[in-house]
């Protein structure tokens, strides 16, 4: 149930592959893997965005992400979960976040994966500051809704 905060660009597919290689005895029980990858867009609220800085509250961030994983493990019949989140300077198309849930069946995997990302967005203390094409710098004031 690893939680990682990273300061360098990461390849989510490599992380998933590496984690799957370490599932060991759980591997044969995992009939479903659901994952969400969030990337930086090059626009926001009608403006071109050239760069982003992601700040966080280190001691609180790690504790909250671990709590969110533990809650997902308790709520659904999942075998493992994973959260990786980037901080620092980020460029468009870079991966910001990877969450994943492994389960015996798709229902639990889908539900747990959605829970991980929605709770992260509502509770984990990260803040985005974006630089626009015209040089302006502004803090993102709220996340977009994840509703269907």
């Amino acid at each position: 149930m690893p939680v990682k905060i990273v300061t360098e660009a990461f390849n989510p597919w490599e992380i998933l592959q590496s984690h799957e290689q370490n599932l060991q005895e759980k591997a044969g029980k995992c009939g479903a893997l659901s994952n969400f990858i969030g990337r930086m867009r090059d626009y926001n609220e009608g403006d071109d965005v050239t760069q982003m800085y992601l700040e966080h509250y280190p001691a609180m961030t790690t504790a909250h992400l671990n709590t969110i994983c533990e809650e997902a493990m308790q709520k659904w019949d999942i075998l493992d979960c994973l959260i990786v989140h980037r901080v620092g300077e980020i460029n468009p198309t870079d991966t910001i976040v990877l969450v994943a849930a492994w389960a015996g069946h798709r229902g639990s995997a889908f539900s747990a994966c959605r829970y991980l990302i929605e709770e992260l967005k509502h509770r984990a203390p990260f803040w985005k500051r974006e630089t626009l094409l015209n040089g302006d710098v502004r803090w993102v004031e709220k996340n977009t809704s994840g509703d269907l």
């Binding site: 969030g38 992601l54 700040e55 966080h56 509250y57 001691a59 609180m60 504790a63 909250h64 989140h85 910001i96 976040v97 990302i117 992260l120 967005k121 509502h122 509770r123 984990a124 203390p125 990260f126 803040w127 985005k128 500051r129 803090w139 993102v140 004031e141 709220k142 996340n143």
Partner: protein, 77 residues
């Protein structure tokens, strides 16, 4: 009696400080601590508060050696 106060993101920039140690009589309340830490600036709307890395409401009690953080709504992910 000492309390560590932290401000993050846009709130840190507005206030011009990120972390300070406040000598204050404890237990105290969030409003009194905010006033001491910000020289009486008005408390912004929608600000979140954490004591020792746990979210709390504004009516929570602050004790000696606590770490109290104030920050705007979170925007990760």
């Amino acid at each position: 009696m000492s309390v560590t106060v932290k401000f993050f993101a846009s709130l840190r920039e507005v206030l011009g400080k990120g972390e300070l140690s406040i000598t204050i009589e404890t237990p105290t309340d969030i409003a009194t601590l905010w006033e001491a830490a910000t020289e009486g600036k008005p408390f912004p709307e929608h600000i979140l508060i954490a004591i020792n890395q746990h979210y709390v409401e504004i009516n929570s009690v602050v004790n000696n050696d606590d770490e109290v953080a104030f920050f705007p709504p979170v925007t990760g992910g």
